[in-house]
Symmetry: C2
Amino acid sequence: MSTPRSGGRRADAVRNRQLALEAATALLSEPGAALTVEAIAGRAGLGAGTVVRAFGGKDALLDAAVSDLLEPVVRRARELCGHPEPDLALRTFLAELIAFQSAHHPLNDRLGGLDLPATTARRAELVAAVEEMLDRAQAAGLVRTDLEAPALTTLIGQTAYAVARSRPAAPELVDAYLTVLMDGLRPPR
Amino acid sequence: MSTPRSGGRRADAVRNRQLALEAATALLSEPGAALTVEAIAGRAGLGAGTVVRAFGGKDALLDAAVSDLLEPVVRRARELCGHPEPDLALRTFLAELIAFQSAHHPLNDRLGGLDLPATTARRAELVAAVEEMLDRAQAAGLVRTDLEAPALTTLIGQTAYAVARSRPAAPELVDAYLTVLMDGLRPPR
């Protein structure tokens, strides 16, 4: 009897984990939604105890949800690292990143003070990919080399996020930002 | 008897107002300091009731303190509007604004939801002065005219604030930001 029972329990655990993850991901995209275990469990149609057992706690659950959310962004950044026009690749990536951050606007505000190792690792991957895009653009003579790549990467990350956060993130503002930034990144005249 | 007594009361009221204002201004510059009436009164050596009577409430007190804080920034922006090199004036002003915002980093985070009419008016004056600097730089052929001045002003405001907020607001980052921004604002090649 024990094999089918534990198999069923395992299947239940996998299903509950998936339901909780989907609920957390949905809540992360809703401005102002509470990110409590109770809210996540309620959305998933599970008990709070079940959610805690499936992930070991709220931090681990949010870490899984946020790092899943960032996964396609990292993949896209890496894909664009192979683009034949590295400056165009950078602009394309930043436009997509701003759209993503704008859609998940309150995300960062609600993750302060949590222990999110997988999310931290994904963010580091994202920064590394942007640095690679910049390196390639510098090597191709398309981006200035009189400023250090790490300063440029930090600068781009901070300012892009500010533009994404602005309400409303008007398309004219995003476009003006990308135009001024990309022209400012060109090698000085 | 009544004239000297009410004169003494008036002098007390003026003094208490000043003490409360100075205490609020000091607390505004301290990261993490609580901005409650009790904290302000405690710092000023006054009772909470005295502070409320002097200003009519916390919002009015903070409004007076923040708008006082912004007053020299607005004055400086207007002064720089008359500078013979409007692009240099803009860069100079932004460097000073970032230093100011960096020193008063948590200010905006702690003012959300308050009714601050004098502060709102000061901010509008600041935006108008930056728009005038940009207009002058555009008229002199030093800043691009293919992007609308209001979009540029918003863009500059948002991104400068993001750089000022970054911890640490490393001098290299501020310098990289100003260099990339000012080059990006030049008329396109």
